[in-house]
Subunit: 629 residues, 2 copies
């Protein structure tokens, strides 16, 4: 078993694909982590923006959460329908492309790709940030920890689909279980105590209000809260990972994710009001996350507190996994339409799209390194991609229902309802997109506004190149069988040896026109070769009465090899019009890589140069000579 096999797992055959598929419970950690982990930062970021309102701010968290939950319900039904309509994988790209046109599809794709990369960087950095604030001794190793987690997530994903789901099952369900338990106990106590529960550990007192509630402030709080919805589209993008029945399993997973996310968001908002928990200043000394305050208030700081917080950190870091599930698949869809290099559509040893995983890892590592593992400044860029894709996908679905109105009256009624739901979804997410863009434009959202069209332009350039190649290489005609003369053989020769003998034999075997060429930088080499040539080549050939090859000696006063050779090839092209010039390159093959350091790499350079600059009539023949050990 080789090292690669050990690290990445054995090769999987293409027909083993079906065995790699998963059910809802395994799919949840793969595709749902991005959405679920939002519960840990969505409410927190909304509350942080409400800080200037002091205790009054808590009054707004209820209505804001209600709007977000309503949006979530709309999104749920929209994507449920999308999943049913596009059982082959109905990501925003496919839906927008098929219903709104290729450009809209590319816009959605670019938005999502950007969002996925940001999700990896921000998720891992958030998890490590929380870990470091709990264990300050790790402070100097922030970037190292980020890159370590990135490597683990990437490695697990390279091992295949099943592996990534299975690996992340424990932290995911631990996180859901602990948080649900906390919310349950908290809600029961709150109801029992008539809405005023007594906290086990009293949360910090909220500061006095420093400003009044303005529409602008509430809009900003809302757009920050909306980050809680990112990741909901992941399941419809990733239908291909499910085992049969695909659509039903995908819908079940979607239901599971949305219900859990809804309960978490609603429960957190309710308990924040009941226990008077607000955000604390993230840059201040007494910073405590909202979740930390909440668990401490409900259950105190015992073992349970640390298990809950620990699993939250893990889930935040691992939310990167959702990007790993979807980014490579989306790249593959785009590549299959010729908008990205075809290599994105090649499956590696474990049936995953290796190049996509590699690129995602490289880009995320770059972002993490550039920002030193502290990605706060990237958060404003977040959510715009997601809501852009949401809007395009919903808008596409309304067109879909118009085109597929159904045949029976029952189907028609259903399609009309579906169209209304998707229409409402499109308008709602469109409004949110505008709000988020406006509220965060100066904070960095403008970067997204520049990057997404740039990506679309890149897609279009790639497509144009592929179209050009396809046109140029299209061969809708029979092979040209007009009689041709054999190629003119040209053999660069430094001296007479078994290596050059073998090359010369090959040349004489396929053509009567053979020319050996010696580029001379040293007279004595040339004389030696000329002697051997007469003795070992010409004499036996004359004796046998065969067609004689020629030896050309070219002087190279500037000790160059390639220029005299190409000049001579040019002369040959003129002297033998229409014939192929086949340059036979004798090459010594050695058994150890380091032995190549001992020889001038002239053959390698010559091959590359002749291929790239020789012109259409020059063919390169490489005759190897194996060195015995």
């Amino acid at each position: 078993m080789s090292l690669l096999d050990r690290v990445l797992g054995k090769h999987l055959a293409s027909q083993e694909e079906e065995e790699q598929k998963v059910g809802p419970l395994t799919a949840l950690p793969m595709l749902g982590l991005d959405a679920l982990s939002s519960a840990a930062y969505g409410p927190e970021s909304a509350l942080t923006l409400l800080l200037p309102l002091g205790a009054l701010g808590l009054g707004y968290i209820g209505p804001l959460t209600a709007i977000i939950l309503a949006l979530l319900v709309i999104l749920y039904f929209s994507y449920r329908q999308t999943t049913a309509a596009y059982p082959g994988g109905g990501g925003s790209y496919t839906v927008a492309k098929e219903n709104l046109g290729q450009r809209a599809g590319l816009l959605a794709a670019a938005s999502l790709l950007l969002d996925y990369v940001l999700n990896v960087a921000v998720g891992i950095a958030a998890g490590v940030g929380a870990l470091v604030s709990a264990v300050p001794i790790l402070q100097p190793h922030v970037l190292g920890l980020c890159l370590l987690i990135l490597a683990v997530v990437a490695g697990v994903n390279l091992r295949g689909i099943r592996e990534s789901g299975a690996t992340f099952v424990v932290p995911t369900y631990l996180f859901i279980g602990c948080l649900m338990l906390t919310l349950g106990i908290g809600v029961v106590r709150s109801i029992v105590s008539g809405g005023h529960p007594h906290p086990v550990e009293t949360p910090p007192v909220l500061p006095a209000a420093t400003a009044g509630a303005t529409l602008w402030l509430l809009l900003k709080a809302f757009s920050s809260g909306c980050t809680a919805m990112t990741g909901v589209e992941a399941i419809s993008n990733g239908i291909s990972v499910f085992n049969k029945p695909k659509v039903l399993n995908a819908q079940r997973t979607l239901t599971l994710v949305v219900v859990i996310l809804g309960v978490l968001l609603g429960g957190i908002a309710y308990l924040c009001r009941a226990y008077h928990i607000g955000a604390t200043d993230p840059s201040g000394p007494g910073y405590q996350s909202v979740l930390s305050q909440l668990v401490a208030a409900v259950a105190g700081r015992g073992v349970f507190y640390y298990v809950t917080l620990g699993s939250t950190l893990a889930v935040l870091s691992l939310s990167a996994n959702t990007s790993y599930a979807d980014f490579p698949r989306l790249c593959r869809l785009i590549a299959e339409d010729d908008f990205l290099p075809h290599a994105f559509a090649s499956r590696g040893r474990r049936l995953v799209y290796t190049l996509g995983i590699g690129i995602l890892t490289a880009l995320s590592a770059l972002l993490l390194t550039a920002f030193g593992g502290i990605t706060d400044r990237l958060i404003p860029l977040f959510a715009i991609g997601a809501f852009g894709a949401f809007t395009l996908s919903q808008a596409g679905m309304t067109v879909y229902w118009r085109r597929n109105p159904g045949e029976t009256p029952k189907e028609q009624a259903k399609a009309r309802l579906a169209r209304v739901i998707n229409g409402v979804g499109a308008v709602a997410t469109g409004i949110v997109l505008l709000v988020v863009l406006t509220a965060k434009f100066l904070d960095g959202a403008w970067i997204t506004v520049l990057l997404i069209p740039a990506l679309v332009i890149l897609f279009l350039c790639v497509k144009r190149h592929y179209d050009h190649v396809a046109r140029e290489t299209d061969c809708p005609h029979p092979i040209d069988l007009s009689p041709r003369l054999p190629p003119v053989i040209l053999i660069p020769m430094k001296g007479w040896s078994t290596i050059t003998e073998q090359a010369l034999r090959f040349g004489l075997n396929i053509s009567p026109d053979v020319i050996a060429i010696h580029i001379s930088t040293d007279d004595s080499d040339a004389r030696l070769l000329q002697d051997s040539w007469i003795r070992y080549v010409m004499e036996p050939i004359r004796t046998a009465g065969l067609t004689e090859p020629h030896l050309m000696v070219l002087l190279s006063p500037y000790r160059r090899l390639f220029h005299p050779l190409t000049d001579y090839i040019h002369q040959l092209k003129v002297a033998y019009p229409g014939r192929t010039i086949a340059v036979v390159i004798p090459e010594l093959v050695e058994s150890r890589w380091y032995q190549y350091l001992l020889h001038n790499q002239r053959a390698t350079g010559l091959k590359a140069a002749l291929l790239l600059r020789g012109g259409p009539r020059v063919t390169v023949i490489n005759v190897p000579w194996y060195l015995a050990d």
Copy 2:
């Protein structure tokens, strides 16, 4: 004029070699800087070790310098004779090899190579160190300055022999002139004042003695002072750079260097005693170099002081140039004897040995970077290489004179005298080598003792490999003209296109046995190709009544390309015993490098894999297809 032409100069033809040669005055900055710059640190390092003796130490500098000067005279006569005996370039390598055997030659070569690398790093670091102590604002940029100077020296040397001599003429003669003037004035004043001159600026008072003079202390001071002699061998190594009369010019340069060096060393020692100048603690706050004190004492701190010190810094940094003159030439000699890769013997565009310059620069940059530009700890390693080479060279010369005793009585008398001189030289330098080794063994000289044999072992391994290749490829017999069947042609084919059509035409043109092979990872591709094959290939070929090629479709369940292909090649080898299997690889050639990112680099990988692992009977034919712009 291309950028490379601008930076490195135009290509020089091989016959322009003679015009690149230089006379003694230009050779001095090239080959003599290493020796001359020693005057700036040799006395200083001896005096530093005498520090514990206080003012008493000054009493020993006279006798120590006298011994060093005596050694210098012996070395001068020895190398003068060597130069005459080996007009082709009588470096220690050549002399030891021809008279003491190949192993002794390699030992000398390894010692010298190591010494040259150390000289570059230590020289540049010393110059920059002095500069920084004068201009403390540059302190944070020590390493940057070191690498900058290294780049300048390397660049100038890449431009050719003449350039490096001409560039360094001004600082070299400025240094010699200023120092000579200082010594002249100082000596005259000292004599006029009866041995007790009045200093313009009084040097720091010497500290009180903290120890008595032991033999061990004096030995250490002596071995440090001996670093003043390193670089004397450079001229005999570099005879090939001189114009005619070579030997005479080389001897003149040697005389010039030794006389100047001797005067400088003697003058400095005399004035140190006269003006009561000793070393100051290099790590203490009031550190001042001996030369700085001396110039200030004689001439005060005016413009002259700064010009003298400035040229000293320049000469220290540029002493690296001597290594650049000799290291590549020595590598070339070793490479011509097959003990180093042959690429070391290739002359670049300006007739210099580019690879040697590159390796020397890389190793020096590595040393400088590893030590952060502060190479004090490397100084103990210094001088051992030089004295090792001295000893081997002198010992070799004594053997030379025994073998060439001369014919006439006059010649015989001359040879006997020469042998005595070289014998005395060998014994003297051998003793110094032992002293230096003993005195500095624990300070780091042990590293040299390990490195030099390691280098020799490397040389021997390289030689063994070249011998093996030469034996294996030697072809002292006529070409085998026994009739051969044409090669079996195998063409990997992904689909039918103008690219594959061209490859197929080439194959059909040179052999009747043509097999196209399709490695299938996707059924639809295979079907498409099979349809095109029948329509565009088989039908016209049947119509024309030609030999039919075959299309093989191989399934690759693990989506591998290379394994099924090599398996099939193996079957072909068995099916067609004794015949060459020529794999024709169709390849798309694009006009821009970045366009290659858009295509899987299968052709490139396949070519390399077939070449390295295909086996002796597999030949690779590359048929390019040029994409129109």
